[in-house]
């Protein structure tokens, strides 16, 4: 209820501003000022977190860099605004940032009533479960009669109730006020399973006494598609963002990565030629030049490289591709044809 009122108020307050901001043309603004002001999270493992040298790292951060490489030619021309969940939309609406790349779930209400547009999906997140390996459970459907540690008053709790009811399984929720309490209870063995968003599960697993002794189950029981957000009504900027995501995916699909991108320009594959601007005027149509996809791939990497570097199996988070694999490898990541 409060959220609805908040949305309504914000929407009402921004209606006029958004309409006028739209005509400004973020792409031209960005080119003129020479950097992209990118809104990121103040800290979410694997998505945006500072390193010890004070640089931002993570999957959301890498999208900002890729965009800067595409638009301005240099991945380092990004200025970051760490934003809390509460102020992120206002920061975008008021023009304080050019792009919100902050693990934001794409929902209908946000898309329609907040004056925002979602450019696409960079990461399919969803609520998952973690169990001790010694329990021998391999699937969430086997959690019959399990006690589950969960944080109270979150959508997580409701999603879980829906899931167990839909699958006609009985379960025992063990609720806690704070995320860290919930995890501590799970770690001391007060419940059989722990549930939160899958990307968070991996981070929580590291905090356990014996991270290797726990398994993240493959099922996701809710949809949390996360992606970059731009202001409503600025179609050109939206296009640039959307097709950049597709270009990163297409590059992975075509086997173009940061190391071989220059050789791939000589490829005979017409799709590769179009992606890398050897053939056609894809970049010009977006208001960029024809090297628009080469630079982000070279400086930041294709989607697989970005994923593996920040959240992939070799990082401490250790996430499998799962739903984030390419469509032809059993995942949901699908690039619209670049032609």
């Amino acid at each position: 209820m409060i959220r609805t009122i908040f949305y309504a108020l914000t929407a009402a307050a921004t209606a006029g501003l958004v309409a006028s901001a739209a005509s400004a043309g973020t792409l031209d603004d960005v080119k003129k000022k020479g950097f992209i002001q990118c809104g990121v999270s103040e800290g979410l493992p694997g998505f945006s977190a500072p390193d010890t040298a004070g640089n931002w790292t993570g999957l959301d951060v890498d999208f900002c860099k890729a965009l800067a490489a595409a638009v301005l030619g240099d991945a380092s021309k990004v200025k970051y605004s760490p934003l809390s969940a509460k102020v992120r939309f206002t920061a975008l609406q008021s023009g304080e940032i050019d792009l919100l790349s902050r693990n934001t779930t794409w929902t209908l209400v946000r898309d329609t009533s907040l004056g925002l547009n979602f450019a696409g999906v960079m990461f399919y997140d969803g609520q998952g479960f973690m169990v001790p390996k010694k329990l021998g459970v391999k699937s969430a459907k086997e959690l019959k009669g399990a006690s589950v540690c969960v944080q109270i008053g979150t959508t997580t709790e409701l999603n879980m109730a829906d899931f167990f009811r839909a699958n006609k399984l009985d379960y025992k929720p063990v609720v806690f006020e704070k995320a860290d309490e919930t995890l501590a209870a799970y770690d001391t063995g007060r419940c059989d399973a722990f549930t939160t968003d899958a990307s968070g599960l991996a981070a929580y697993r590291i905090k356990l006494k014996d991270p290797q002794g726990h398994l993240i189950l493959p099922e996701l029981i809710s949809k949390e598609p996360l992606g970059p957000v731009v202001r409503h009504g600025d179609d050109q900027w939206l296009d640039v963002n959307r097709w950049l995501i597709y270009a990163l995916l297409e590059a992975e699909e075509l086997g173009v990565d940061s190391k071989n991108v220059d050789e791939q320009k000589k490829s005979a594959n017409p799709n590769t030629k179009r992606l890398l601007g050897v053939e056609g005027d894809m970049g010009k149509n977006l208001g960029l030049d024809n090297d628009w996809a080469v630079r982000p791939i070279k400086q930041v990497g294709n989607y697989a490289e970005i994923f593996d570097r920040n959240v992939g199996p070799k990082t401490t988070l250790g996430l499998e591709r799962g739903t984030n694999a390419l469509w032809n490898k059993g995942g949901l990541m699908y690039s619209m044809p670049i032609r």
Binding site: T10, A13, T14, L17, S20, A21, A24, E42, G43, L44, P45, G46, A49, P50, D51, T52, A53, G54, T57, K79, Y80, S81, P82, L83, S84, K86, V87, T90, A91, Q93, S94, G95, E96, D180, A203, I206, K207, N310, T315, T316, L317
Partner: protein
Amino acid sequence: MNDRAQTYLPGTHPDLPPPPSMVGVYGWLRANLFSSPVNVILTLLAAYIIYLAFPPLIQWVFINADWQGDTREACRREGACWVFVKVWLRQFMYGRYPSTEIWRINTAYAILALGMIPMFIPRVRGKAWIAAFLLFGYPVVAYYLFYGSAFGQVVVETPLWGGLFLTLVIASVGIVGSLPIGIVLALGRRSRLPIIQSVSIAFIEIWRGVPLITVLFMASVMFPLFMPEGLTIDRLARALVGVMLFSAAYMAEVVRGGLQAIPKGQYEAAQALGLNYGKMMALIILPQALKLVIPGIVNTFIGLFKDTTLVLIIGLMDFLGTIQSAGTNPQWLGFAIEGYVFSALVFWVFCFGMSRYSQHLERKLRTTH
């Protein structure tokens, strides 16, 4: 001479030592810890709690703690991982301020310290000039040092400000700004002019009636939406103004308490001397009133200093914010407790320092009536 006990003439009796049970360790224990059955029980209970709590704490903080190394792998032992604090210390102190420019912050700290030291030495003359510099000149110097651009240094934009540095900036702007505004509001509230009085009352009651978190939200979420298009005011500046006005409302009430404690005779005497309102307040009333309420003022300052941590909910990376965000780096997950312990220690040092300074000030300004 006879065998009677020695007697002394009046006034010549030597001071005898007190009975052994009243002095030394034994006497102190008896007087302070075991003076009654209830106190004996309480003492034993407290000793038991200390016995339960302290050894594990010492073990965690010192004995089992990791101090060496600079990676996560260095933290293999059961105790605290101070490596985490060590590795992130620069960020905790300065946030993401560029490392090549950190000398600017340190220079500003040094100037402040140089300015403050003479204030503690009684013999130094011209304290008023130093104080005037610290209050009016120093903020300008500090602004150009921190933000840059005056003498051709690189501009360091406020999103890069962070850590303890940002906390100190917010707290000092709040402290320095709120006192004068608070005094004006307090005088306004006691004014006989109805408009000034009602405006002051309205300001104080409205700002005091909302939580700081609301003020910060308004400043960072609602305020930008009311601004004309293309005009964005820096997020830090908005928060600074919010914090300043908020604490000014509290300060006004503290000062008003002091004003009310001044006897009416002081006002009448000042008027009888022919002083106008401004001179009466500046020379007679305020010096006495402010001296009375030093504990209250410092109390407000300490509260304000700790409240500054709330800015992290609007995405400003203050001291606590950088500690929390350091804990989200995938390489350094799971060291939140070390970070919080460290921040508690730093906050305590600053608050205790402020408290000691206020006691020093009270002693110095004491004039017994």
